[in-house]
């Protein structure tokens, strides 16, 4: 290998390869072809050797043949004229006695993707579609899709599309599976103009084929069946029942496609007992997916998340499966946390809180934040869990680990707002940890708590003026605003003690603060307080609407769309497909005016941002707060 690399560095390697390719010794030619392909792989230009490589195409060595075909596929587009030179060998190969070579030739000709070759391809393709060997037939079927992509008219005129449609009745199930993927692909290229439509008799064929073909064929068939509209209830039930055993397949994709089909057919099947049976059968396979590789777990979890929004009770008994393992990758851990909060019920909230407390002691800062947020979501979701959750949070705060304390402060604010007056006893202890808190968001939260519940804290005056020391150095306006608010609230609640502080706060804020928002806020307070203290009271001490846990579900219309695409990329990214992939339909025919491109693109970005926003709130699960006075 070293020698090869050195040789590659030498100048004029292509010349050397040229001589080798024309060598009289077969083994040297073989080695030369290998080196040409190696160079091609690392991005060197070996197109100059085209004719020399081509000379070696006539060989009975299958490896060489495959490598040369690969070379041709790579350079066909840049040198279409030269490819014609190879056509003869291809055509000859499609008549070879070995079915493997026939299939290889027809497959490669399709992959060349060169219009010039089309004329030569038609006749061999027609023969191969009727080949006695199913391996050749199924390869030929895929080739039709390639021809169709290159030139739909040629494919239709030569009757290839019809031939493929007829092949649905092929005796070999692997051919049938390929027919399904080829037709589906052509359908998509056409922009759904109807290359084929499933009907009752073809569905029957597919249901038979699905039992015999490979897992990849099964996926293709399942995907095709999802779009089918059953004639009546009976047929829908029959399809579902015959596909139920697919849930036990070892391939996760087959499992998820089956789940998708069952969920889609929910609207056709009316019998409640059947639907219940389907849901019950779905659970174990979904749980099994969680013991596979982390990547598969991730996709499964994202989908489970969607399924749960449709059927919230589906997995409530399986909560332990979603507990995070120590060595799970972070992306799996976050999804698990989200699912855990989703499936938790009042019955098992207690063990879950203990589990979350353990997570909050880990060292991965982001994961700890997520865990702490999950605790608060549980507290806000379940009245009965609030007590326990607050206990867990105060325990966590007492560890004095900086990031844990910060995050706990932030979420405690929401819990206090959700259950006013219930946890007044805790507030005083929080003040002991003021020194640890330095993240602006956490500081603002703590100051808000102090201002709001000043009557429960013994030395608010000292605490607040202590915090006020750093007012001007404070760079974050949210902290400054919180301080001004807290001073005003403290004054309104206990005018005697608070007077000095509020004066100092408003004076500093209006005269020395650089931030216009903070100045404005202070001015407003000042005028309110001096003009009408009662009005100030009604503004600053107004009853806040309680925090609700919201925005954890996707908007209904988006959810509908995503559940339909369950198991697909869009369900994982939780955005509709049009926002992230190229649409073939555009290319296939729907004209797009140059001048509209810009505006459309703009529109797309805005929707994508909106969708992304929706997704974010789901992930964070942080209840949106109204104005914090």
């Amino acid at each position: 290998m070293k020698a090869k690399v050195l040789a590659a560095l030498r100048k004029g390697e292509n010349y050397e390869l040229k001589t080798e390719l024309n060598s009289e010794y077969r083994e040297r030619r073989k080695e030369a072809v290998r080196r040409v392909i190696a160079n091609m792989t690392v991005g060197k230009d070996v197109s100059g050797l085209f004719t020399d490589v081509l000379k070696n195409m006539q060989t009975d060595d299958l490896e060489i043949k495959k490598l040369i075909y690969l070379y041709l596929i790579n350079y066909a587009k840049t040198q279409p004229d030269l490819v014609i030179l190879a056509v003869n060998t291809f055509v000859k190969d499609t008549e070879d006695s070995n079915p493997l070579i026939r299939a290889l030739a027809i497959r490669t000709m399709g992959c060349l993707h060169v219009p010039e070759v089309l004329d030569y391809l038609c006749d061999p393709l027609r023969t191969c579609l009727k080949d006695p060997n199913p391996y050749v037939r199924k390869t030929a079927v895929m080739c039709v899709a390639k021809v169709f992509e290159l030139n739909a008219a040629v494919a239709e005129e030569n009757g290839f599309v019809d031939a493929v449609r007829e092949s649905l009745s092929d005796s070999n199930s692997m051919v049938v599976a390929n027919v399904v993927s080829a037709l589906a692909e052509m359908n998509e290229m056409e922009g759904g103009r109807g290359i084929w439509r499933l009907d009752t008799s073809t569905v029957g064929k597919l249901l038979t084929a699905v039992n015999e073909c490979t897992e990849w064929g099964q996926i293709a068939i399942l995907e095709a069946l999802v779009d089918y509209r059953p004639q009546d209830e009976k047929e829908a039930e029959n399809i579902c029942e015959r596909l139920l055993p697919r849930l036990q397949h070892a391939n996760g994709s087959v499992v998820l496609s089956t789940v998708r089909l069952l969920l889609t057919y929910e609207k056709y099947v009316k019998r409640a007992d059947l639907l219940q049976q389907f849901s019950k059968k779905m659970v174990p396979p979904l749980v099994t997916l969680l013991s596979s590789e982390p990547e598969i777990q991730y996709v499964a979890l994202r989908n489970i998340n969607l399924i749960l929004q449709r059927q919230p009770k589906l997995l409530s008994k399986e909560i332990r499966v979603f507990f995070c393992k120590y060595n799970d990758p972070v992306y799996v851990k976050y999804e698990k946390l989200d699912v855990l909060v989703r499936i938790c019920s009042e019955r098992n909230v207690e063990p879950l809180l203990n589990e979350l407390k353990e997570y909050a002691k880990e060292v991965d800062v982001d994961f700890v934040r997520h865990a702490v947020q999950a605790i608060s979501r549980l507290a806000i979701k379940y009245d009965s869990a609030a007590e326990r959750a607050v206990k867990v949070l105060t325990d966590l705060i007492s560890t004095k680990v900086e990031y844990v304390v910060q995050e706990s402060m932030i979420v405690l604010k929401d819990i206090f707002r959700r259950y006013p007056q219930r946890f007044d006893g805790v507030i005083a202890t929080l003040c002991e940890y003021i020194d640890i808190v330095d993240k602006p968001e956490a500081m603002a939260a703590l100051i808000w708590i102090i201002g709001e519940y000043s009557e429960h804290i013994t030395n608010v005056g000292n605490v607040l003026s202590g915090m006020f020391e750093g007012f001007l150095e404070q760079e974050d306006e949210s902290v400054q605003l919180a301080l001004v608010n807290a001073a005003v609230k403290y004054f309104l609640k206990s005018p005697q003690q608070g007077q000095a502080l509020v004066l100092k706060a408003l004076q500093t804020a209006t005269e020395k603060c650089a931030n216009p928002d903070v100045r404005d806020r202070a001015y407003i307070y000042w005028r309110l307080l001096s003009a009408d203290p009662e009005a100030a009271r009604s503004v600053a001490l107004v009853d806040k609407p309680p925090v609700e846990l919201e925005n954890v579900n996707l908007p209904d219309s988006l959810l509908q769309e995503l559940v339909k695409e369950l198991g697909c990329v869009s369900s994982v990214l939780q955005k509709p497909a049009r926002l992230f992939v190229y649409k073939r339909a555009e290319k296939a025919g729907l004209p797009r005016h140059a001048e509209t491109v810009g505006s459309e693109a703009d529109e797309e970005t805005t929707t994508s941002e909106a969708a992304a926003g929706g997704v974010d709130t789901t992930n964070e699960g942080e209840p949106e707060l109204l104005i914090s006075f």
Partner: protein, 515 residues
């Protein structure tokens, strides 16, 4: 569906279209990479690029076609994404790239397998395919690494082209692949090297045309043997899974396997050869096995969380002594395993992380250390440590699942059957308890169990000097106060040093019980 998995696809017109539409994004990504272009491109490509750019250090606002192609690289965009996350293993497996492409990847060993999807497709299918590719390649090449892949590119290409045909998956089944691309082995490599002629048409690659894709027709063996391995893996959450292996059977036999308690297997997933309908209706496993080794299926058995059901117990405790001295103690004991002996039980690895907290000193002594420098103020105890254990018990099935009978239909000959049971550790994770000997709880325990602790410590006093640093030894001598042994009423003055060294076991157990 189409997956451009094997080659980077910047020649694809679709990618180009996308790049035109998102040129600003592409430019934003490509510009910072320009100085590094020399590393990625070959000398010729680099020269060509320089020529196109006409000496500019960034891409122009309006690209020409060649420039588009030069800048257009989904795979480099993905590498940049990989580098933007803390560690490769943290990268989300499904990532939407700015070029209307979705990158789906898995990481196996030191290699990352990336599938690029240009339109809506099931990501699980891609993931399963990548997994299949990774497995197939390791079967063909053996030890997979960047170097071995490069050395065996000819094989890699052949295998990939048989697995994926212009984006649709053909097969990932090894028994099919072996027929299409011969697995290189020592013998034919030798022949090739010595004689200069490769094994070609002698071994005619054969294709399977039967309706049973996993087994080719006309297999003949001189002896027919069938072995079933039931391998149970115990996970920490006490789940188990098993697999079955079968070599060598002639013809097209159909096997019927009956398990003793099929009802306890709840989450079952099978190899495609198993007739799922039959399993649904009769709970028997009927299948035509592929030739050679294969995994018949896997199942889960919930064993309940009852203590005593695990064959091995591991206790781990982590003790903290002062600021930077930590001791991790691990002990294992055998539990219930039906009288069989536990073989090869070994502790594989201990994962533990130390948190070092830094506090920033205000700029008081700026002159001495450059202002606001950080010094570790405290090191908290190792948190969330976990111990992973491996073990193996032959001839024992943890779930008590047995093969009741194994019958062969459709072929006349007799087979030799064998069934073997093995129980292994799956993901057996035991979390370590964190024990702080300075804590009041530990002191309480020490007081309560002082009698036992003293009995452990006293015999060790003469040799203590070897273990303890001198200032600690002074402390101990102070406690001894000239005597040879500690007395039983000295509980209140006991030093954490001693507890940590000698009373650790008792206290950690006691604390664990309290919890």
């Amino acid at each position: 569906m189409s997956i451009f998995g094997t080659l980077s696809n910047h020649r694809d017109p679709k990618t180009k279209d996308a790049a035109v539409r998102h040129w600003t994004d592409v430019k934003a990504k490509a510009d910072p990479a320009l100085p590094l272009a020399g590393l990625r491109l070959t000398a010729e490509q680099k020269a060509k690029l320089d020529e196109l750019l006409k000496g500019a250090s960034v891409f122009p606002d309006e690209p020409t076609e060649e420039l588009l192609l030069a800048s257009l690289v989904v795979v480099p965009a993905f590498t940049r994404y990989l580098h933007s996350v803390p560690s490769f293993s943290d990268a989300e497996p499904v990532w939407s790239s700015p070029l209307d492409m979705v990158c789906i990847h898995i990481q196996r060993g030191e290699l990352i397998y990336l599938g690029v999807v240009s339109h809506e497709a099931p990501p699980l299918e891609v993931l399963e395919l990548l997994e299949g590719i990774s497995q197939a390649l390791s079967e063909y090449i053996g030890n997979l690494s960047e170097l071995t892949v490069k050395e065996n590119f000819a094989t890699v290409y052949q295998v990939l082209s048989e697995m994926v045909d212009s984006g649709s998956v053909v097969t990932t089944d090894m028994s099919v692949l072996r027929g299409l691309v011969p697995v290189p082995n020592m013998v034919n490599r030798m022949i090739e090297n010595v004689s200069g002629i490769g094994i070609r048409s002698e071994v005619k690659p054969d294709i399977n045309t039967s309706s049973i894709p996993w087994r080719s027709q006309g297999i003949r063996h001189s002896s027919n043997e069938f072995f079933v391995d039931i391998v149970e893996k115990i996970d920490a959450i006490v789940d188990s899974s098993g697999s079955v292996v079968a070599p060598g059977l002639s013809g097209m036999p159909e096997l019927l396997m009956v398990m003793n308690r099929p009802e306890i297997m709840d989450d079952v997933s099978f190899h495609p050869c198993v007739r799922l309908a039959k399993w649904e209706s009769e709970r028997t496993i009927a299948y035509v096995p592929p030739d050679g080794q294969f995994k018949l299926g896997s199942f889960h058995v919930g064993m309940g969380a009852s203590p005593g059901s695990l064959p091995v117990y591991v206790h781990a405790s982590c003790t903290t002594q002062g600021a930077n001295q930590h001791t991790i103690e691990i002990s294992a004991e055998a539990g219930q395993c039906g009288g069989k002996s536990v073989e090869k039980a070994y502790n594989t690895r201990v994962q533990c992380k130390l948190v070092i907290q830094y506090s920033t000193r205000p700029g008081g002594d700026a002159a001495t250390n450059g202002g606001g420098a950080s010094t570790p103020s405290s090191i908290t105890e190792p948190t969330a440590s976990a111990v992973f254990v491996d073990f193996e018990i032959a001839g024992f099935s943890a779930s008590s699942l047995k093969v009741d009978s194994l019958k062969m239909l459709r072929e006349a000959y007799k087979i030799f059957k064998g069934v073997r049971y093995v129980t292994k550790a799956g993901s057996y994770q035991s979390s370590a308890a964190n024990i702080d000997f300075d804590s009041p709880e530990a002191a309480q325990c020490a007081t309560r169990h002082w009698g036992e602790i003293v009995d452990i410590i006293n015999p060790k006093i003469p040799s203590m000097e070897q273990y303890l640093p001198s200032e600690k030894m002074e402390e101990v001598k102070g406690l001894l106060d000239g005597k040879k042994e500690l007395s039983k009423d000295q509980a209140s003055v006991i030093s954490p040093v001693l507890l940590n060294r000698f009373g650790g076991d008792i206290i950690s157990k006691c604390l664990a019980e309290q919890k």
